[in-house]
Structures are given as structure tokens and as C-alpha cells.
Symmetry: C2
Subunit: 193 residues, 2 copies
């Protein structure tokens, strides 16, 4: 299932074709594709090249996968359980070189996770990020130390069958993708104009 | 000048070829390419599809470009002044639907800016993000209201001539790109392992 963005200017294929499905196929993701996802994130940019991202990856039927799933809010669990790969995305909050707060740690984590989601499209996969999860529970389950923060979870997989997820959730799969107009987010003289 | 990442797995071209140069060409960026950059950011993903990103864009010789340049720390000004396009990246800190704090506003801004930087590669351009700038001054110069935060500035352009920037900065252009090993950022059972 493809849901290419109705863009007003031609843009790169993997950017236009990225979307966030909820019905994933049971098919496992090949190891070389998982490596490509992680490698793409690794080469993302960050302030002072700090690379303030950490990932805990769980493959279906592994204990880690189950633990990540239990951190999700109930509504997300209903569909995310179809995904063969769950990744917990963690920010390192202080700079390594001076231990001072890194104000863009989460911003840079967002860059890495976005890059991973785009690489997924390149690999014929899809990713769906969630913020509806219990970060405190994740910290306990995975012994995440002070100075690190679990920010989001991404479900990855091949596209599946909407019939495999609850009907009310499956309905959202066919909604058209929408975004605000550029004039609402792009200004050229002062804020808002 | 190309500096493809020495990746350990094949990844998408625009991800592997993105890097952050400091010597930009004087050549202006075509309008359709600027639109493509913005359109790519627009279709980025965000929590609740909030799209908490705002961009103030300044083209060289425009007042906005000069104002953005003056917010940069001196060291960044020395090279960023070669860039034909400067973009101030701003996060909307509260959700629109309920006015509550959006904990992932900056994370989602990071996603949009990363996507814009990748589209730049697709367009034959490069982007270089900076956090070395005065956000308070930017807020004053552009009347950025409460509830919004200027997080970073991106310089965009075609690649230029390292001789056009100070020699000590130009030296950094030829450094090999480096990243930590995956084992330092990817775990599979518990944090750190």
C-alpha cells in the first residue's frame, strides 16, 4: 500500500513515500536491512558530532520486543504488536566532552530517527513512531541510567493487512495524508509573515 | 566535493552523501529548489501531526538573511556568510489542539530539519546546521512570540571553494567524516548491552 504525499514540488522518492502505517506484515526484517536502518541513523548529523542517540532494538519473539511492547499505551499495543521490529529511541542528555546539558539532544535524536524512517522506505519497509508509551517503565525495564531519556518508540516492518488490526484503527490507514500549507510554517520577513 | 560516509551497510544515496560543508558557492539557489526543501520538511512526521516547525528563510542580500547572520556566533559567521540561504528553525512548544506542552516539539523539529537537509542532497545542494547562535536575539529580531523557540539555523547552498573561507576553518572541510561504532549506540537486551 502506497500513500505518496501530494507534494506541491517534486521531492525525493523516499521522502515523498514515507508514511506511518499501523498494519505490518508478519514477515521478519532481514538482518542486512536492520543494519541499513541503524547505519543510516548513525550517519545523521548532530551538534559537536555528539551523536546523542541510543537504540534498544527488539525483534519479534525476543524478550526485548515484548518488553518494549508493554511500555506502549494500550491503543498503540493493539496495532504495534503486528510489527516485527520495535526500537526504543533514547537521548543522551549531556555532552560527552564536558558533561554539560546538550540542549539539542532530543532534536538530534529526532534527526537520527527521521533518517532511519527514511532509510526504511529505501529498504521497502515502513516505520511508525510513537510517543504514547511509558518512558519511566522503559527506563526501569532496560536499566536506562540517569542522563538518558527514552523519547519515542518506532515500529518497523513490511506493510501488512489492515484486517489484522482492529477495525477502528484500520480505518485510519486509508485516511489521506494531510499537512498544513507552507504559508502557515514558512516566513520571510518576521514571525508569521 | 563529495564526502560519502564510509558505511558498513549500503544505504540510500541522499543519506550517505549528506555532509555539512562550510564553503558555499555564491550561486543563488533556484526558487523551485527552495520550494522542494520546504516541501520535504512539510511532509515530515510529527506527534499528533502537530507539525511543530516554523521556518524563517533569508536569501542573500535580503534583510532577513543579514538578520539571521547577525544572530550567529562570530566563528559561524565567518563561513556561513558564504551561504546563499539561511533558515532559522523554530519549534512550537505547545500543542495546538489543547495548548498543553508538546514534549517532542524539538524532536519533531529535528525530524523536519533533517528531512530538509536530505532533500538538499537530492537537489545537488548541501545544508549545514548550527546551534551556535543567539536564540534570544533571534526572538527579538523576528518577533518570535512566547510558546515558540528558535532552536537552530541551517545554511544552504551549492558547494563552493574552501579558499573563500578562513584557512583554519577550511582545514575542517577535508577531515574525514567519523562516527562512533554501532555497538556504542545500539543495544538489544538492556541499556549498554
Amino acid at each position: 500500500m502506497q500513500k505518496p504525499a501530494k507534494t506541491k514540488a517534486p521531492i525525493n522518492h523516499i521522502i515523498a513515500h514515507r508514511w506511518s502505517p499501523r498494519a505490518f506484515s508478519n514477515k521478519a526484517i532481514e538482518e542486512d536491512k536492520i543494519n541499513a536502518l541503524l547505519e543510516a541513523a548513525r550517519w545523521s548529523s548532530s551538534a559537536f558530532n555528539e551523536q546523542p542517540w541510543r537504540f534498544i532494538i527488539g525483534k519479534k519473539e525476543e524478550e526485548t520486543w515484548k518488553k518494549i511492547l508493554t511500555t506502549l499505551v494500550e491503543w498503540n499495543q493493539q496495532w504495534a504488536k503486528t510489527a516485527p521490529l520495535l526500537v526504543l529511541n533514547i537521548a543522551k542528555l549531556n555532552f560527552t566532552h564536558n558533561n554539560k546539558p546538550n540542549d539539542v539532544a532530543e532534536y538530534d535524536l529526532g534527526q537520527a530517527v527521521a533518517t532511519m524512517a527514511l532509510e526504511a522506505v529505501h529498504q521497502g519497509l515502513f516505520g511508525h513512531q510513537m510517543t504514547g508509551f511509558d518512558g519511566k517503565k522503559a527506563a526501569e525495564l532496560f536499566n536506562i541510567p540517569e542522563g538518558y531519556k527514552a523519547v519515542s518508540v518506532t515500529a518497523f516492518g513490511y506493510y501488512g493487512n489492515p484486517d489484522d488490526i482492529p477495525a477502528d484503527i484500520a480505518k485510519q490507514e486509508i485516511n489521506e495524508r494531510s499537512r498544513n500549507e507552507l504559508k502557515e510554517m514558512v516566513f520571510s520577513t518576521t514571525f508569521g509573515k
